[in-house]
Symmetry: C3
């Protein structure tokens, strides 16, 4: 499936092993002895590949599939073609992700400090850290065991990063305390002063920005995103948050656990997101907006007011999603009445 | 208040000194001899801290506050609890910002050129410049006295930067002439060719981009923002402009003095902004739009036409703000009439 | 025209030579012996400069112009002032771009590897490549002849880049195969894993992202843009695409030939754009949206559904452009009826 210039494949594996890895059940236990060499999409899979399928519409594709094995939800197992080994799972996509991770493990970090890196004498490096060419580690910074600092990444003085993290090329981190297994794509900027201005007689003055960025465990942040430090108190990204590319997070924003933030979202200062909140791409939040737990915000919406837990909103200014759909529909109808 | 891993605190100071620093007036001159050790938020301040308060709604918080001293506008001085020293100021936020700056001064620049930097032989470096690890300074570039070039920042040939600037990590600057006290967060890109295309028989051709970026004094630009150089003539950012993260400024845009540009704003080619214009987050401007002095644009608006001085607009396409609010209201009402 | 600190000018040239370069016709062949020293705008041009004009509205400017020579479409040649040599062209802007390119050629690349670069022993470098300070070239990467890798750019293992490319400072490229004459502004990030998440019992899991980014010839990408690699299969940017600053392109997006993508556009996963599609600034596309050949999308629109070839859409959710304009008009009218 994957270009060997970029990905190393393990295996082949017996199907039994894959079933265990994906916590899936073999429809016919005798198939457990089949050898599977790769993961593939349903369309492209051949007799040595495993694929997965979900949803009613996939039935025709599934019927035509030539995969050696396929992961299916219980209601689809009868739609698989003969000769294709079936692994039944309530969550085939999750099972497939785990099996793909078995074939294509993340490359191991090669411990060591590249001679072109600049590491302060009093930086504290855990066991087996990897410091790539040109990386800069400031005074008193702490890098946890097994973490990789990418090429030219800059970790300013005092920053703390936990274990097994991956800091991409050209990331810049200051004024931050970060948990374990952080994953930063290239170009992420964390900890710069927030956009807090006061008008004075000689022009605009920036208030001293005296807070930090505090990031939990298992957080992922996409390329060229920017997270400002707090003005007073901290900007907080809680455990398990996943943030896409080019996202802007202002000072003193607080994200609960496992929030999903799509690309190019912008959050003004002091917004609060409850656990599991999900923001679509290009959403904007006014400052001091609070979104309750499990909030959903449609892409491109502009949220000016707080949203209750479990609320779903859309549009600019954002309104409850059903109202938004009605507004869209009524406007379309009015325009048609007048139209050609 | 601030984590000592990242911030160095001066003081303590006598309250009299803080009153002078913030140009505020002690309600009781005898309090001038109190010692104050830190700045804090109103909620968190203790007997050795100074805080500030503004606005009617803050009265209950203020009544409960335990701060040693508090900066207040004249109409709030009676709301402060007994035992709390009062500094009266017409602009408490500004006074607080100045006092915070006394406790937490920007760290001084350590002059010198890191051995891993690459500095052209004919670059002109002022007194006490600081060139961080990996920085690259091209031929003929001029760096003013006291300016710090951050880690891996790239200053291309011929670029001029004034005094006492701070260029963040991974900034890239070409074709630019920049004033004093510039503050660039990490990852800012200045001077790349603009997006000026001409269709030709073999496909799209980029017109040669022969202008520069000219930036005044006291300008601040947020992380990962991008400012294109002019196509013919210059892109201009005047004195005192404050620009947030991830902002896109196209070729030949001209910003007047002290404009405030919030995060993720995008300006197409040849826009003109008068002095003190303010754009909310994620605003977009069509090319060749002119916004008069003191214009206000609501967040997420899309401006297709010129705006008169002092105008306030909102929505996409942007209309005068009162009309925008009416449009929002009438659409909501129409949708409700039909709704459940 | 251009600041000599940043641009080197060739010439002067005889007008005859410029006419050939721009494929334009001298109205009076005797003017071919005039010497022209520079390109200029119509307003600023003097007797030694060449300028160009297009469009009806330019007539007054043209009448007052002092240029030595001017490129004009046939319908404007009678509007030029006496004494100004006329070059007639059906495409004056294109002719001017070519002539400007003659005066101001892109600076030649100085071949060689800077001693501070880190180049893997098994990287394959073509003839006359230029590797700037701090650049990092990973194992097995291939850099075509005449390509320049900018300061601190990071080319990860296995990446292939064609001939005569220009990779800006701080670019980061992994999992990618790139054609000839690529032009990347600074800070572009290509090949990071896409935002494909699966919910699992311990939280959100990222599906292994096993595809690549495949980029054709003559592609240009603006500063700080981010292009994710495919999840399974590739993200594809076809020949001649021009992409502006701060654009986000998700996993498995496929762009046809010569698409024009303005600043801050965001494309969710698996979008497909036909040849010559054009997206205005800050447009957002939902995942799996297909835009036909020659589609036009207005700035700031949000496209939720497929668009037919040649379609033009606007608004959020995007509708056909005429309907969008009617919707805007009717809403304005309704608001006025109620208003002051």
């Amino acid at each position: 499936m994957a270009d060997p210039r970029f990905f190393q494949r393990a295996g082949p594996f017996l199907l039994q092993r894959l079933a265990e890895c994906g916590d899936a059940k073999l429809a016919n236990p005798a198939d457990g002895a089949r050898r599977i060499a790769d993961v593939q999409s349903l369309e492209a899979a051949g007799p040595e590949d495993i694929a997965y399928a979900e949803g009613k519409r996939v039935a025709p594709l599934l019927a035509a599939c030539r995969a050696g094995a396929v992961l299916l939800p219980p209601d689809l197992v009868t739609a698989a073609p003969p000769g294709c080994a079936i692994l039944s799972s309530a969550t085939p996509a999750l099972a497939f992700a785990r099996i793909a991770g078995l074939f294509y493990a993340e490359p191991a970090v090669e411990p060591g400090i590249h001679p072109s890196a600049t590491v302060a004498a009093d930086a504290k490096l855990g066991a087996d850290v990897s410091i790539a060419p040109g990386a800069v580690i400031g005074g008193g910074a702490e890098i946890g065991a097994g973490t990789r600092i990418g090429p030219h990444a800059v970790i300013e003085a005092g920053v703390v990063i936990g274990r097994d993290g991956r800091i991409g090329a050209h990331c810049s981190i200051s004024h931050a305390v970060i948990g374990d297994r952080i994953l930063l794509a290239p170009g992420v900027s964390i900890g710069q002063p927030g956009f807090g201005l006061v008008a004075g007689p000689e022009g605009l003055l920036r208030r001293p920005q005296l807070g930090r960025v505090v990031i939990g465990n298992d957080v992922e942040i996409g390329a060229n995103s920017a997270i400002d430090r707090g003005a007073a108190g901290d900007t907080v990204i809680s455990d398990g948050c996943k943030i896409d590319n080019l996202v802007h997070i202002g000072h003193n924003v607080r994200l609960g656990r496992s929030c999903i933030i799509a690309g190019q979202v912008g959050m003004s200062g002091s917004c609060v997101l409850g656990d599991y909140a999900q923001l679509g791409g290009q959403v904007g939040l006014s400052d001091h907006v609070t979104l309750g737990r499990d909030t959903r915000v449609m892409a491109q919406s502009g949220v000016l007011r707080d949203v209750e837990p479990g609320g779903a909103v859309g549009g600019t200014p954002a309104v409850p999603i059903r109202q938004h759909h009605r507004q869209v529909a009524i406007l379309a109808r009015l325009a048609k009445r007048k139209g050609d």
